[in-house]
């Protein structure tokens, strides 16, 4: 049972790391601010969710697992708001020369 949980952790965390990598590639390769924001927020929210999923079996008790999930939700909320704010400023600034 614990071996299956360990394999699940490794798979989930690796998948999460892959999504972080995809988000970073998107940040470096996309042409303008709005597309980069899209790449970052989608990849990082899903990436962080998978990492948290992989860490849940290793958390100490239900309270530890709840804290991990609260961390993920807070990052989701903060990331969504900040990307909205940046997008509004980028849109107002117009396309880059």
């Amino acid at each position: 049972m614990s071996l299956a949980l360990d394999i699940l952790s490794v798979l989930a965390i690796s998948a999460g790391a892959f999504f972080f990598l995809a988000g970073t590639v998107g940040l470096l390769r996309f042409p303008d601010a709005l597309t980069r924001l899209h790449a970052l927020t989608k990849a990082d929210n899903l990436g962080l969710g998978l990492v948290v999923l992989g860490l849940l079996p290793r958390a100490d008790g239900a309270l530890g697992a709840l804290k991990l999930i609260v961390v993920w939700l807070l990052v989701l909320v903060a990331g969504a708001t900040v990307s909205q704010l940046i997008a509004r400023v980028a849109q107002r600034a117009g396309p880059a020369p």
Binding site: L74, V77, A78, A80, T81, Q84, L85, R88
Partner: protein
């Protein structure tokens, strides 16, 4: 277990290299705004380094204050100085001066590195003394014990330094605006997503901040971490226009600011009567006294940090 050790070492090496790369980028990049963003990222990476150095309390303080609150302060300054700084670019030093400075700074770094490599082995440490005396303070977290009991005088004087810094910042106001509202006139309509965040996050943040204070007695945490979080929540509410910054001359505000050091000094003086020295806690009441000091300290720190970021008063309150 050498595989685990190798992986840990590789991670540490990668982390140190990334920290240095981000620091280098912060120094050489041309735009000030980009440099400040780089500095915020640097602060968060250094918090990771602190975790690797087995200091989770310091990691939390670095992430909250070193990365978070300092970042807000510097971003605001960069935005307000944008028009003014362009003229200074002409004062860049010439090539020889840069080379000489680089050589001297490299020499300083090399001297420090040599000291690091020549540190005595086994390392001298005060951990056994701290562990032996921790039981008498009633707390389980040795860092809280050091901050509140063993080196309580340092924490008290640091609180006083914070209040002095705030007085220094306030004294930069123009004479006609002494006692007014800190910070520039906010834009009339803050972005709706920011307002949403400022409605959603502060209740959660306050609960987590108080939790950090409470759990700091036995686990990593404490008054500084909780206070920084509360300050961030207040700043968020002020930035979204949901909470008006208080006028700097208001008595209630000044009472909250002074409460931390005042309670600390009062309990310290009571130590003369109840125990045998300044800031000595009587054995039976050590933990309750520490909790009382920490609560007052947290509120004071939260108010002081938020007001330090808000800045000197710049406009009078509407009558």
């Amino acid at each position: 277990m050498t595989i685990a050790v190798t992986i840990a070492w590789a991670f540490d090496a990668l982390l140190a290299a990334t920290v240095l790369a981000v620091a280098l980028w912060t120094i050489v990049t041309r735009e000030t705004f980009a440099a400040v963003v780089g500095f915020v990222a640097f602060g968060l990476l250094v918090a990771l380094v602190w975790v690797r150095l087995a200091a989770p309390d310091v990691a939390m303080v670095e992430a909250a204050i070193g990365g978070g609150v300092t970042g807000v302060l510097l971003l605001g300054a960069a935005a307000r100085l944008r028009g003014v700084e362009a003229a200074t670019a002409a004062e860049w030093p010439g090539k020889t001066l840069r080379l000489v400075t680089g050589a001297l700074c490299a020499a300083v770094a090399a001297a420090l590195a040599a000291t690091m490599l020549l540190l005595p082995d086994p390392a001298p440490t005060l951990a056994p003394e701290a562990a032996a005396n921790l039981a008498s303070t009633g707390v389980g977290n040795p860092i809280t014990g050091v901050l509140m009991a063993f080196r309580g005088l340092d924490t008290l004087l640091e609180k006083v330094v914070l209040v002095l810094a705030l007085i220094g910042v306030w004294s930069l106001a123009q004479d006609s605006q002494w006692g007014g509202l800190p910070g520039p006139q906010r834009q009339a309509q803050p972005d709706q997503s920011l307002v949403f965040l400022a409605r959603l996050l502060p209740p959660v943040g306050i609960v987590i901040g108080v939790y950090l204070l409470w759990t700091g007695a036995d686990e990593p945490g404490g008054a500084f971490q909780g206070g920084a979080l509360l300050a961030a929540m207040w700043l968020l509410a002020m930035m979204a226009g949901l909470a008006a910054p208080p006028p700097v001359g208001s008595r209630r505000l000044r009472l909250v600011l002074v409460a931390g050091p005042a309670v600390f000094v009062a309990i310290g003086l009571a130590g003369f009567a109840l125990a045998d020295a300044f800031l000595a806690y009587p054995q039976a009441y050590a933990k309750p006294l520490i909790i009382v000091i920490e609560i007052a300290l947290m509120l004071s720190i939260a108010a002081t940090l938020a007001l330090l970021v808000a800045g000197p008063p710049e406009r009078m309150p509407p009558r």
